[in-house]
């Protein structure tokens, strides 16, 4: 074994960074044996130098991250600051000064991954980022390497723990969104400002990264259609239950049937209770990968948290250090297919639509006519009272007659597969019907 240590600079020492530093210290011998050389924490850049950081030599602490990555003797920079700047400049500066980089920064990779990969390649350095997607769950490496000889057609998963906790809580307790969010916040599953999670930005960044790797192309966060969970109601969840489904926030990346384009989207969707993703509870993450030869694979585990994320960072650290000792680099960006990202309108899936309608004869016929005109085929229609728990609902297969319930009625339509564009046109036309008082909810149905 080489005795001269590899030098590591740690940028950021919050929940993840402090855990990385702790494991580097407590498991130094194991890391050295696995790498083939000792690794030494050579500097830790933080914003608040006065904070007591147990187990970290105060002499290593600096507020000057730029000077740290410019030192010239750093072999690997671990970036766990997050956000676009200064992380982006620090990473490119690190490459320029000879370091490889391990990052957990999903926002930056989803925004500017191509430029970062190009900088790494230009300087002959590694850029690894297993921790950017789904915490400790190995996904980036299996997609980049294990499935490198296969053709991935679809990636579908729960990649945000906060929203899964909230939806799971709504599903199991019948709570509304706000109540479930409050509980998630109280238990530390949601941040004080939960926007990035509940509006789907975090999941969209991960979807962009996964789609790019899976399809060997470039997908940026701006290419990902994004809907959060803030409009999911207790009624939606109850309605899903009646269909034998549950509601999950899914990230879905698909290769088009003709193979000539891809789509990436994040939105709440109903999935059947029999689907393995339906049983992913609390803040866990799970990702399904469908590949041509491998078939359906699933990866499951804790998607966030200091320790799991640190595990992913350290796995990358070992790989990058081994590469360094080998004077080699691992796989870089693979974007040779240059497949375009199609707009959401091209996505084909099934839909669950709840309409508030006037309680008059002929409403169902009017509604069904609109669907037919827009080319969206109806699977089932359910007509029910306004109170979802009233039990007076009747399921009407297509072609059956309507039935009035109480003074005002609600129609729940589940469609066959149709394009999002056709569905949008249908909904627009429905809104114009006098008998349709409102579109209560539209939710996609996936995983069937």
């Amino acid at each position: 074994m080489r005795t001269r240590p590899l030098k590591v600079a740690l940028l950021g020492c919050g929940v993840v960074g402090s855990e990385v530093a702790r494991i580097m210290t407590t498991h130094a011998d194991d890391l050295a044996a696995r790498i083939g050389a000792p690794v030494e924490l050579a500097g830790v850049a933080v914003r608040r130098p006065s904070k007591v950081r147990e187990g970290i030599d105060p002499a290593l602490i600096t507020t000057d991250a730029t000077a740290l990555v410019k030192r010239g003797d750093i072999d690997v920079v671990i970036e766990v600051i997050g956000g676009i700047e200064p992380a982006r400049t620090l990473i490119t500066t690190a490459f320029e000064h000879g370091a490889s980089v391990v990052s957990a920064n999903k926002a930056l990779l989803a925004e500017d991954g191509a430029a970062l990969h190009a900088a790494a390649e230009q300087h002959g350095r590694d850029l690894y980022y297993e921790a950017a997607v789904a915490g400790a769950i190995p996904l980036v490496r299996p997609l980049r390497e294990s499935l490198a000889g296969d053709k991935v057609n679809r990636v579908l998963g729960i990649v945000n723990g906060t929203t899964n906790f909230i939806l799971d809580k709504m599903d199991t307790s019948g709570a509304g969104y706000s109540e479930a969010l409050d509980e998630a916040t109280a238990l530390g599953y949601a941040e004080a400002d939960p926007t990035a999670d509940v509006e789907g930005f975090d999941a969209a960044a991960k979807a962009a990264i996964l789609a790019g790797i899976a399809f060997h192309t470039r997908v940026r966060i701006g290419d990902v259609h994004r809907e959060g969970i803030t409009e999911v109601t207790a009624a939606d969840i109850a309605s899903a239950r009646r269909m034998g489904c549950t509601v999950k926030l899914l990230a879905i990346c698909e290769r088009a049937a003709d193979g000539q384009s891809v789509t990436a989207r994040v939105h709440p969707a109903m999935i059947p209770l029999s689907h393995p993703l339906a049983s992913v509870r609390e803040a866990y993450n799970a990702v399904f990968v469908e590949a041509e030869a491998a078939g359906q694979l699933m990866f499951y585990g804790p998607g966030a948290g200091g320790s799991p994320t640190a595990s992913a960072v350290l796995g990358d650290l070992v790989a990058v250090c081994r590469n360094k000792l080998n004077e080699a680099t691992g796989p870089g960006e693979s974007a040779y297919t240059r497949l375009p990202v199609s707009p959401m309108g091209d996505v084909v899936t099934r839909y669950h639509i709840s309409l508030d309608v006037a309680d008059k004869p002929g409403v169902l016929a009017q509604v069904a006519t609109v669907f037919a005109e827009k080319g969206v085929s109806i699977d089932t229609v359910r007509q029910q009272g306004r109170n979802p728990g009233s039990g007076d609902e009747v399921v009407i297969e297509q072609g059956g007659g309507g039935r009035r319930v109480g003074g005002e009625a609600s129609l729940v339509v589940v469609t066959h597969r149709a394009s999002d564009a056709a569905l949008s046109a249908t909904v627009e036309a429905l809104r114009k019907l006098d008998t349709v008082r409102g579109v209560a909810s539209i939710m996609r149905v996936e995983g069937e």
Copy 2:
């Protein structure tokens, strides 16, 4: 991109080999783009050269595998022959003649992995074998690389599809073992001679490989305690159901609590229906990995079959070819901990024991005394009629009185955690009791 192709020799052209060859041809452009150079099938060694092999140039076919690996211009040898010889000699010969090796040979790796790794290292070549464990499910790479910065404490999984199909069939249909095996054979899930699967040899080989990688030590198939499923009865499965459990053939690799040794075992076990492994149906595989920082991860997918196994082989092929172009090698054997493998007697778990007993007062007291004397603590006792479906059973918590049922009684004891040695001593003592007419079954209870 390099234009001179990397040359690949394929040893074996059965279900897996022919699929590898097919994908290498149909997806040649993708493989070239991902590797950075084209790959060319330079020769295919088979036993029956006269067989028509669609899509493979007959000029590539040879029966002389030794001459093929000795050619000197082969970059990568793919070994999908299986078995110990001639595979072992062909692999070491390949290393000697400058080739790296991708193998799907679990039996050989579990028997002689250390020697193969040493040969690879001596010649500066790669030995990759993702396909040897659980088909297309990425497990070897995540354990060797993604979790290289973490400390794995436990690997627990369903790694044999044939036995999972049989047990699933017994569970869902109430069929007996023979009937379920017949169905598995008819559907192609079991081979004509099912010994390797049903007696647990296949799972034991995978357990040895997984334990070695997970704990950075050497575990051979002979170190793995092995029990198959041939003695699992419909009564065992019904009894599991009554406990809210199902029966699975599990491969379990554990680090001892003191960290100074490991154990590896394959045996049928009851697991709670709420455990994710309980819902792994038919011939699917799934593996739980518990690591110190990452927490619980699960990997799920098809564990066998030509296409899934080919996917794993080709993923390794891409990695090995990239390494070759980089003039580097990937991770080799990591066995630095040299942890000893403890005997089965040291394993600590829970047990479910069915006893046929005389229907006399005081039997429960006698039985309970034996457990107490051997230091095995009882969790629950259930006394029931001989017919498991009779419904006249009574659950008696420890300390409760006995109750007679019919002319002959059956006692079902579930223990708290105890060592296998203590349990064996208990069973031996129970057999000596006049009132115990037989030990109908002993099954471990896992996953709680």
